[in-house]
Structure formats: structure tokens, C-alpha cells
Symmetry: C2
Subunit: 390 residues, 2 copies
Amino acid sequence: MKGKPIAAIVSAGLSKFGKLENYAGRELFAEAVYEAFERCPKIDPKKDIKAIFVGMMSESFEHQGHIAPMLSDWAGLLPAPAIRTEIACASSAAALRTGIFSLLSGIYDVVLVGGLEKMTKRSTVETTEILGMAADYPFEQWNGITFPGLFALMATAHMHKYGTTEQQMGLIAVKNHHNGALNPKAHMQKEVTLETVMASRTVAKPLKLYDCSLISDGASCVILTKLEIAKRFCDNPVYIIGSGHGSDTLSLYQRESLTSIKATRNAAKEAYNMADLKPEDIDVAEVHDCFTIAELIAYEDLGFCPPGEGGKFIEKGTPTLEGDLPVNTSGGLKAKGHPVGATGTAQVYEIYLQLTEQAEKRQINGCKIGLTQNLGGSGASSIVHIFRRG
Amino acid sequence: MKGKPIAAIVSAGLSKFGKLENYAGRELFAEAVYEAFERCPKIDPKKDIKAIFVGMMSESFEHQGHIAPMLSDWAGLLPAPAIRTEIACASSAAALRTGIFSLLSGIYDVVLVGGLEKMTKRSTVETTEILGMAADYPFEQWNGITFPGLFALMATAHMHKYGTTEQQMGLIAVKNHHNGALNPKAHMQKEVTLETVMASRTVAKPLKLYDCSLISDGASCVILTKLEIAKRFCDNPVYIIGSGHGSDTLSLYQRESLTSIKATRNAAKEAYNMADLKPEDIDVAEVHDCFTIAELIAYEDLGFCPPGEGGKFIEKGTPTLEGDLPVNTSGGLKAKGHPVGATGTAQVYEIYLQLTEQAEKRQINGCKIGLTQNLGGSGASSIVHIFRRG
């Protein structure tokens, strides 16, 4: 299937992201689904949607497992059968990849894929502990390390090996807050200066408050069809032309490197190969900035710049809205927010808007090829997708 | 694909089921995987297995999410990428169905699918609460009802509507304990009499202790290949010829009926249609007997007997080892045990043994067509697969 599209996106939806006290997770998912149907009136929800694949990280936030059929119900899509996929923060990218499998299998022709997380009902301590289940419990969390600490280890190693600076990481926060301020659905719509970032309190040295993404509520979805029927539903489908998935050890200490995520490199290789494209062909990307160091490492692992040069890449302004390869035009996990199960298909939502010229103040004119990269945990999972304007 | 195989099973593995205090979930999964590789020495684990799909219900038992890459690691299969699927107790049937999608998609050619649950570290109260997350929290568990209560409602409705008796349900327990006593991997290898079942204490009227399945630790797996390469790995593959999946409302009170599971009927319809077979073509089946009433209703929903006649079906002895359509030759969830995430592919393991004449004392001579039915929660999810001897 090299160089050929593997599926089409005919619509997408996103709930508001934020601390949404009055909404249950199922209601946020319904909000995202309704937007997708409003965008694409030719879809008959009951008749056309054959199955649902939905990512959610944790049953613990709402004390609710078995969400897949519940979301099919609350989105008004029963009897469409539903499966939940989970690989921590990359759960809805896994839903997308699974949905693609199901279309290519010939068993379904139209599926809805999405994700959900309702996080803000819990205290920060509880949330930290729930998120910690995405690390290796007996070897990591039990010993006291949580995610800011794991990514701080990577940041320290990157600084040590390549001379990367806290200021360079801070510039990623500044960029993503700038973009988020242009996104009406973002959790935090405010610009920040590098001074503010640098002066913010330390969370896990060298990561400061503004190096960390947000704890948010939110949901997202995408409607996928087999290629040959996409134009039945809309005139401007977006084509998925590459999909790649990598896994690595759950524990950070077992990895070959602390300065590069092997799962991302493997996922990117598979996706680029399937799309028959190179990093320089990408016009716009959404990458997994759970911490600023994660975005910096993603530049390198995705081949946007050579290893060790992520710091220079942001310093030169290449990934800004005005740069040659805008990254996280949505504001990213950093400013748009990070309801973990929703993040993967929320990234796809942004790329869908960009490739259909609907990204308003964030629009990258003339972009033709988009990429998403969604990380699970500290990098035991990574999924990359590549998209082409229809 | 009507009437044609969609994938091949070239091996399968099962850990011991039981209260296995000295083993973590990841170790049980490795035990199952190693058996699968021992059965099929032509597979080169590192070279041949391209991806893993694994079902687990709950992160809460071991305080461990993001298990998919961890299990790829502990099974020695990295860098094979891994995705967890979850639809409560049908999580590993969902892994199987997802694995089939991935093979039919052309993206992978050999995948390992399986499931896992490590339940006995928790107290009974904690386990009941964790399992309760597979019901609708705000509408069911919060109000105090747990799974024995939900299935007791179904049993009461079935008794009221059709005159089904507690003795008829008890006969299912007697049958499954008889079969389990012949299964060296079963959690509870002991026969029980109808008198013992009837005299056992009430859990949720009319369900008594012996109407309920077991809380167990265990793991299971199956190795799937594309059809055209199966004989590269073994001489007697088992072919998957039907796969069906149904979903319904999470809450029982919203359903059209309490005496029939619509998700199972829809899943069965899809699977029979794909296999181009009828219920009377099935030679041996593993069905989801989380409670005896669930097996009785499954007889009817799978078309083994007409609606309302499940009680007579067991009374006549049709589903016993000596009957015309042996059901749960493994001992079922009732006696073999029910580590929930492992159950779906554990059912497939038994059918694999039966169709390859490896079921020893439980062997159904000459069986050619097998069926599995795996339920999630109180029936919001149900998956049916149909298999043919190679």
C-alpha cells in the first residue's frame, strides 16, 4: 500500500477542552460526536456508522470501565458495536489505527473513532497517581517516581548530551501558548513570555510549571470511511496515507536511550514508508508535548531535525506558525489541554481543520501534508499518522 | 467473505487458572505465551510476531495500566507494537477480533492476541467494586447493584416468563464442574452434585454460590496468521470462519428485554452469516457462563434452542460431554475460572484443543465446527467467533 491512501476522514469533532465541572465524560463525547455530524450532514448516524473505536486511558477518573458500548449509546449510535483501545496517552491514536484496520479488512465501511478523558473531578494527588499507572508500577511508581520526574530525567540527559537549555524548552511553551490563544476550544487561551516560563516554580528539575501540559476534560472524534465511498459524504475528504506504531519497555531505566524515543522512531519509519514520504514533505504537525522536552525530542525522532538539534530547531522558529514547519498549531497538550484519552484524535482534528482550510486564525496557508505523533506513557507506546489534503 | 476463512490459528497457550499468589499478571501472560511457542516450534517469536493485541478489564487489580507494551516486553516480543482492547469481560474476544482486522488489513501477517487478569490480590469487596465498573456507575453501581444482582434480575425474569427453574440452572453448574474436573488447568477441579448446588448459600436470589463463576488469576493467548501462510507454521491450523460483535446499553434497565441479550443475538447473526452456517452446524461451543443463567440464555440467543427452552436444553443433556452439542467442555467460567480479561481467548484455546484433537479427557470426537461467545458486563458487549478444523 506504499504511497496510497489507506482511509479517508470525512468529518471530525472536538468538545471544548478545560475544567468542565458540569459535564460527565459521556456528555463530552456526545458533544464531539455531534459536531462531527453537524460538519457532515450527509452522514446518517444510525445507518452509516458501523462501529466505534474509542480510546480512554483510565477507568479510575470516573470509576467507569466498559465505556465503549456506553459511548455508542450516548452518541445515539447503538446498535453499532464498540471497542475501547488503551495504550495510556496514545489510546485514541490506537483507536484510529484500529479503525483503519477494520476498514481495510473489508468488515466495516464507515467507523467513528475517538477518545475521551474526564480528569478534573479528582484531586491533583489522585490524578498523579492515576496517571502513574501508565508507568511500570513495581519498578517506577512504587519507588516514588511520577511522570514529571520521568520526563525530567530525559530533559537532564538531553541537556547533558547535547547542551540543550531550559530556555530552548521554554520557547516551546511560549510557542504553544501563542497558538492556544488563537484556539477557541483550548483549555488555556493565554500567551506567556519566556520570562514567565523561566520564573515559574520547579515541578521536577529542570522542568518548571510551564514545561508541563494541562490536566483537562475533553473528547474528540473522527469519522473514517473506506476510500472509494468518501466522496459520498463530503467533497473534501482528508486521506490517511501513513500509519505507524511502535512499542518499547514500560520502564524508562530499561531503554537504550534517554534522549530519544525508540517507539516514535519505529512508528515514524513505518508511517513514512507507507506514505512514501520523508520528513521534509511534512507541512504541519501535531506532536505529543506532554512536557516541552517531549516535543523537543519529537522534532528529532520524527526527522524534522538531526538528533541533538531540537533546541536549535525551536530557537530558529521553524515550528512556529510563521515557520517552515509549524508544530502544534492547536496549542498542543501544553495550552489546548491534555485529556489523555482524547489527545490522539484531537491532534487529528487539528490536522483535519488545517488540511480543509478550517483552522481560522491558526490556518497554515496551502498546507498539503500533515502528521500526528501521539505518545503513551514515557514512550513505551508511540503512534504516527500522515495525512494528505483530498 | 461469506463462507470463507478469515484467519488461521496456528497455536495457543493458557496459563494455569486459579488463585496464583506468587505470580504477577505479566508472569502469567508470559506463561501462556511460552506454551503457545512450545506448541509451534516453527514460529520465531522475534521475527514472526508483528504485533500484539491483548485484553484486560481493569487496571485497578494490579494498579497497572498501559499493559500492552509491558506484555510485549515480558513475552520477549519487543519491538512488536501492542494495543490493549477493553470491553469488560469480553476484552480478549475484542483483541481477537481486532487482531483479525489487522491481518485482513494486510498490515500484519502474524499477530499474537490474548488476555490477562490478575484478580486475587484484592479482597472480595474490592473485587466486587472493581468488576462493578463494567456496569453503569451513576445508574447502577452507585445505587448499590453489583453483577450477581444484575444477573439475578435476568434469572428472575426468565423464571417468570418461561418457567425456568433453579434446578435447571443448577444442572449447568453440575455439568461445568464435571468438565472442569477433567481439565488440569481449571481453577476448581471438583465435581458437584445438584444437591450441593441447591443447598449452597444465596448470593443474589435466585442465584446461589454455585451459580456464580470464580474470581481467578490467569492469562491466555492465540497466534493468528493470514490464511495463505498458516501451513508454514503448522500442519493443522484451525480456521476462523466467522466473527461477530454486538453492543447494547450499559444499563440493564434500558434494555428491550431482560430474558435475552440483544448484543449476543446481533453478534451471532453476524458470525453465522459470515461463516454461512446455522446453529445446528456447531459441534462444540464455549459460552460465557459468568452465572448459570448467562449460559442458559446463551443457548437461546445463539440459536441452540428456541427462546425460553434453555432449561429443557440442559435437562435433556444436550450440552453435556456426551450430548449432541457439548458446551463449556473446559469447565467454563464456572469451574475453569474467570480471570475476566483472559476469558475470551481462553475459550478459543479450548476450541483450538478440541478441533486439533488435543483436549484429552474432554475431547469431543470428530468435532469439526466450534463456536465461542464472550460477554462483556451484563451484556452491553458480546462477541461470537466460529472456527473450523483445518
